[in-house]
């Protein structure tokens, strides 16, 4: 967690952006909440500890965190944007329970390889991809 904070501090320093009290607080709460939060959910958590911090600041900080490579914005089928931790997480895809909302991070080298093959076969220069698997988890099936 300290590494992530340092990485953010370094990013801000490099860009000449200030590591303000608010940004620091928002990063802290983001880091200690290992969930795929929406901006609103994060705002509500932040508000508990720091009632003065506004919605807009949370939004702006989330953008900054993404730029700094600490988090990634995911848009889901229902249109909501959720933010996930990137620092210390390898590239991964998601397996999602449509009943309880559970997220499982998936890494499958075989699939990654096949994706590369598809890019090549169509003459594309690969940039990124997203894969989401939707189903019903063990608990919810019962």
């Amino acid at each position: 967690m300290q590494q992530a904070k340092d990485a953010f501090a370094k990013y801000l320093l490099d860009k000449g952006i200030r590591n303000s009290r608010q940004r620091h607080a928002i990063l802290n709460i983001f880091l200690k909440t290992e969930k795929h939060l929406t901006a609103l959910e994060l705002y509500n958590l932040v508000k508990k500890e720091h009632p003065g911090i506004g919605y807009a600041t949370v939004y702006r900080s989330l953008k900054l965190l993404c730029e700094a490579g600490l988090c990634r914005e995911l848009k889901f089928e229902d249109g909501t944007a959720r933010y996930e931790h990137l620092y210390g997480h390898k590239h991964h895809d998601h397996l999602i329970c449509t009943s309880c909302g559970k997220f499982v991070e998936i890494i499958d080298q075989e699939i990654e390889g096949l994706q590369e093959k598809i890019f090549k076969a169509h003459g594309f220069h690969p940039q990124r991809h997203r894969m989401e698997l939707y189903g019903v988890c063990k608990k919810c099936k019962k």
Copy 2:
């Protein structure tokens, strides 16, 4: 194309929903435009031939087309919803050029099989998935 129209007519009949002039017109224009359109883009096309038809009706018709299994709503990374033809198209994923926006429909049984394996390995009952590959196409690379 006639098959698709018949399928839509049948769906409406079964549901006791009327096949109105507007719905018919919107379906026609949707069918003859083999692109991944946004609702607004479709509306603009519709307006050319049928200036009286309103935005809301286009939206409602798109929902109906999706329910009827003729089209599918896709939410992309930029948040825009686009609608693609389903009738006569097998399940497929997408390879997308981030420069010119070109869409290629991808079918890869090997990946599909691996996805099934992932569902099983985590005890999930599979429902659906999405996979999008983003890169730069041959033309745009030059």
